[in-house]
Homo-oligomer: 369 residues x 4
């Protein structure tokens, strides 16, 4: 199967280059008779969009969603939804000078090596703009799941930027708290320090990385498969498929590797509490690949943005040395983290939706077909 | 697609419970006319097998591989290979007492919740014994790839145990160095300290976790897909599908999230060096989801083994409190790391093999079909 | 996997209802650096389009193809192609009266039963308009294959209409001969009789069915798989997925079931001739599921169009009897066969393209990746 | 995806060459807590087995089924079932003389062309022995479906042999009636004539083909998908994937292509009758790709067996002419039809089971997950 689809039951196929005619998504496997509000999809796109503040890319695109199929009077037909956004702010000239240069830590070299051709401008499919389709699909998935599973929610936040860390409680953090800060860190004081770190990098013509935390609360018990398609395995794939990601943790993560079993084990309790069926939740809500009802907690590492304004040495397609004069910082973000928050949530919704339908398939005892 | 298969072109389907009739694998998508030495498969199983030293589980199984199909005179027919190992050391009685208990941080609770039934003894599909099929498949994949891509190699090692860390150079570490130590850490002095940490845990009736490092050297440029099936995304899924894993890093990993772009970026150079086409290799050999020819470097976090000899509080299926008297440590490892080394290598080989065939499919200009 | 995609390597996902915003297709798995002429795609759509003569539906749509992604200066990028056609001639009012009626032998009843909702007008996904995406994808596939496999060609023709049969030689029939007749039967005298049969049905407010023949010439030896994905099995599925099809034959077909082995067997000959490696070609170019180099010959049965002008008895959603007064014949064809010719060719191209790439994946000995 | 698997939710992967160590199947996607009687599986294998009478192959194999995984005390665990039959009657010497010969209308030539290697004896994967895995999987699927959908049944029968036809009523024919005749035709007088035709062919060292009819009764409304995965399309693929098949019809089939719409259309009625929701059933129980509750009626054409005792001209691998002296008829059937009856039923069960689970996945309103 080619690589532009995600999910097996709720199957999301994205299309579109960053500066071509349009970007979008076809979603196959949408259950019928579900109510979808396109303005919610637009809200998701707005959250994902660059140009929302001083921190992020200055590229201005309206990113208006258009639904080409699958909906009738706001209700799903059970047929494929095609959601599309026209590219309106393409400025290929900005990129013409870079046509034959392999920018450091970009996909230029590997795309050229693999395909022998690459989109003449922008990052082609490697651009963050490709994630528009993913976010739109998640906006659909989340509306369906919230209607069927009352109380389910996915919240992501910026947990660290460069050297600044925030300690967030995954049990209580809310989407509203995250939204209050431009940098999408729910702790105001830390958020301020993060913004300073980003501004400092921008002033230096540089960029910074960071970590995004994410939690799923209210997930039904039983999603996930015990062998290859463990819930954490599919989450890991989903999140590492986002541009610029370098690491993934579930539950205790790398810190858990430093523990002993007696410290790490989550004891089951008689009455479910804030950690679901267990006293503690170092498992991160998943045991043996299957959700246990506790909050699913994750962390995702993002490298610093590769596009920087500082001069850099590299080579051209013809193996000639060249110095990238980054004097003009271009339209790129010094820090991708704030914009990546909805992308992380989106991929998590897509994983959950897919496993939800998959789990359904095997439930034979619900009465009549 | 149900969850017991991995890969789309080199498709590995494992079967078997830990204490049923047999465990094994069917591999579909095996290229024809490839030479396979079954003794190499047996060597892989031996490396994976428990009971190899004082550090690991005392369960003794000969684990003799049997090939039921797909090979003729040591050559692949292009038909499915079925490789099987009979279960010989099943002792269900050891587990009878646990039939209704939800062991802390095991898959008992979630399996029961999802399926309403679970294997009466052992971990069922959640057992590490399931990985026999994966390791056997990788033993096939690696033989094929090594013949077609001279110089390709995958090396994994124990990088940390509990609080003991080893700094290993992924560019030079060899399989032989790893094999010399019982704990599979290539630095003898550190290995000794790791063994002490494991023995200490065993003496306490406890267990320890750790980190495994892994590198692919000699990977052809161009494997991996730019969007959902990024090479690192598929590696993340593959490795997080192993039992007891909690985290994954590619290249700079979480440490990379603390860097600035000017520190992190890998400059392209005129002549490929030890880091492939770039001066440094914080990308971990993958850019935009596609391998760039540099070594692919990964780290995987393993939690401490859940089965410990210390007493633990938990509940039964009927929600009654119970204290697991771990006085008899059972046949479980105090540290899964050494045995997990071939499992990590196995999953990496399976990912590479799959992407190798996938990449092939789109290469139209090689002459005639 | 949901049901709106076809193919595993050259993966075609269609979207769009007959009277919604647009219909189209996303093709994933397109090899890079292939030249695609969009005017060829438009030509295919024109061949498929209703309203081309007195024989077919009077619904007028320009069906202008728009390419949203995947192409740059007429060359494939190796990224998904999205091809779209806006719906311009939607007249929901024509269908309002039918909203609650289950038209005989239409998909109204089953769509309602399965989904609990259906597109308010037209046939939704059951409409022949859905095939626009298939035909567009085939127009892409055929251009790629023809460049890589010189001499390959797919020709379909109308072999029978109602009671009128044409005996066509699959070894010599050409696209040009087929195109010369409005009814797409390459024998002028028979074509004339077929047109009369269609006009007669129209005059009666009735419709007629028929059979389409199809041949693939120049197919490389070796495409197809020996077990479930036999080439003829995938062709059968492809063609039975077209609306209104009731039967499929490969090679000798049902007539072959009346023969003895000594009559039916195709003897291999020293020098390949017009029937490829065999003296005769009752196998239809496929043996053991794999193409043998002989022409692949098929026949597909189409039922008479369900929409007729004659009065018909049926029921409504509420189980009330109703008589469909077909006094106004609507915009439907009395015979779908001529328009179905490019649809048959399209599905055959999609099967071949998919198996071509699939076969490629296992060819390891072509040198370097 | 390689070609040895069938189905997406109830995923059947067969393995094994006709004369290797074993043949078998791994079934993934088996719902948990379903009761499976292995003696029913054995009964299916016995029905499929050669050597049951004078009409069929004299090859004697006990074909004892062994279950390696997935069952516990006769109940499914929700894990993969591996079912295996050892090959016991392999006589490679019988085939040694044929090693380099391309037998007419066998898979020898194409296998050699595609893979460059083939099983040294027997038909490898092209052998009817491969269907053991399919039949075993169907024996599992049918037990599960019958428990969940009371009244569902699949019945196949021999409808014609060579020139002898039987007119069978698909609404009333039973498995018992079919089983009473050695040739598996439920009309005793016609069965007798068929047996004579087969004996006549055997006496001539020849073989005969024929047609198998099949019906599904009691299928829940709503199975099947409206576009590519129409129920009839998946049935066509399933049945054309059986060895020796040349054609498929659903409902009215090729005869329907000779009708007018007013004759062919199935009117909906107020009260469901023997034809389900329609007065007649030319649709064959499927409309728009989705089952409508009427009996699903099919016909499958089988060519005469390619292995005959008469002398035949062909060539060797080295393109030398050779005459196959068929003086020894070998162990092959003069007519495959009787043995193919359970194979046809098996493939139909596998299609239904897969669509049943698939349909389940999208039913969101059944309460709690």
């Amino acid at each position: 199967m080619p690589g532009n689809s995600f999910g097996q039951f709720f199957r999301t196929t994205t299309f579109g280059e960053s500066h071509g005619g349009a970007v979008g998504v076809v979603i196959d496997g949408v259950p019928p008779r579900q109510t979808i509000d396109l303005s919610v999809v637009q809200d998701w796109l707005n959250r994902r969009r660059p140009g929302q503040g001083s921190l992020v890319s200055q590229r201005q695109e309206t990113d208006r969603i258009e639904c080409l199929s699958g909906l009738q009077d706001g209700m799903t037909l059970g047929t494929p939804l095609c959601l599309m956004v026209r590219n309106q702010d393409a400025r290929p000239d900005d990129y013409a000078a870079l046509r034959d240069v392999f920018r450091p830590s970009h996909a230029d070299f590997t795309t050229e090596a693999k395909y022998g051709i690459r989109a003449a401008s922008g990052g082609g499919r490697a651009s963050a703009r490709e994630t528009i389709g993913r976010v739109a699909a998640a906006a659909v998935a989340s509306q369906i799941l919230k209607a069927v599973v009352p109380g389910i929610e996915v919240v992501a936040w910026v947990e660290s930027v460069h050297q600044i860390d925030a300690a967030i409680d995954p049990l209580t953090v809310t989407l509203e708290q995250v939204a209050q800060s431009e940098v999408r860190c729910p702790l105001p004081a830390i958020a301020k320090a993060m913004i300073q770190a980003i501004e400092l990098a921008r002033a230096d013509g540089d960029s910074v990385g960071g970590v995004i935390g994410c939690v799923v609360r209210g997930l039904p018990v039983g999603l996930g498969d015990p062998v290859f398609d463990k819930l954490e395995a599919d989450l890991a794939k989903a999140l590492l498929s986002l541009p610029a990601t370098k690491g993934f943790e579930i539950g205790s993560g790398f810190a858990g590797a430093r523990m002993r079993g007696s410290e790490h084990n989550d004891s089951f309790v008689e009455l479910p509490g804030r950690n679901g069926p267990t006293l503690t939740n170092r498992s991160g809500g998943i045991q043996g690949g299957i959700g246990n009802g506790a909050p699913v907690t994750m962390r995702v590492a993002f490298k610093p943005v590769a596009s920087i304004a500082k001069p850099q040495h590299t080579i051209t397609k013809d193996k000639k040395k060249v110095t990238l004069d980054g004097g003009v910082p271009g339209r790129h973000d010094p820090c991708v983290l704030p914009r990546a928050v909805p992308m992380v949530e989106a991929m998590v919704w897509l994983v959950i939706m897919d496993h939800f339908l998959r789990n359904n398939a095997l439930q034979l005892n619900f009465g009549k077909v």
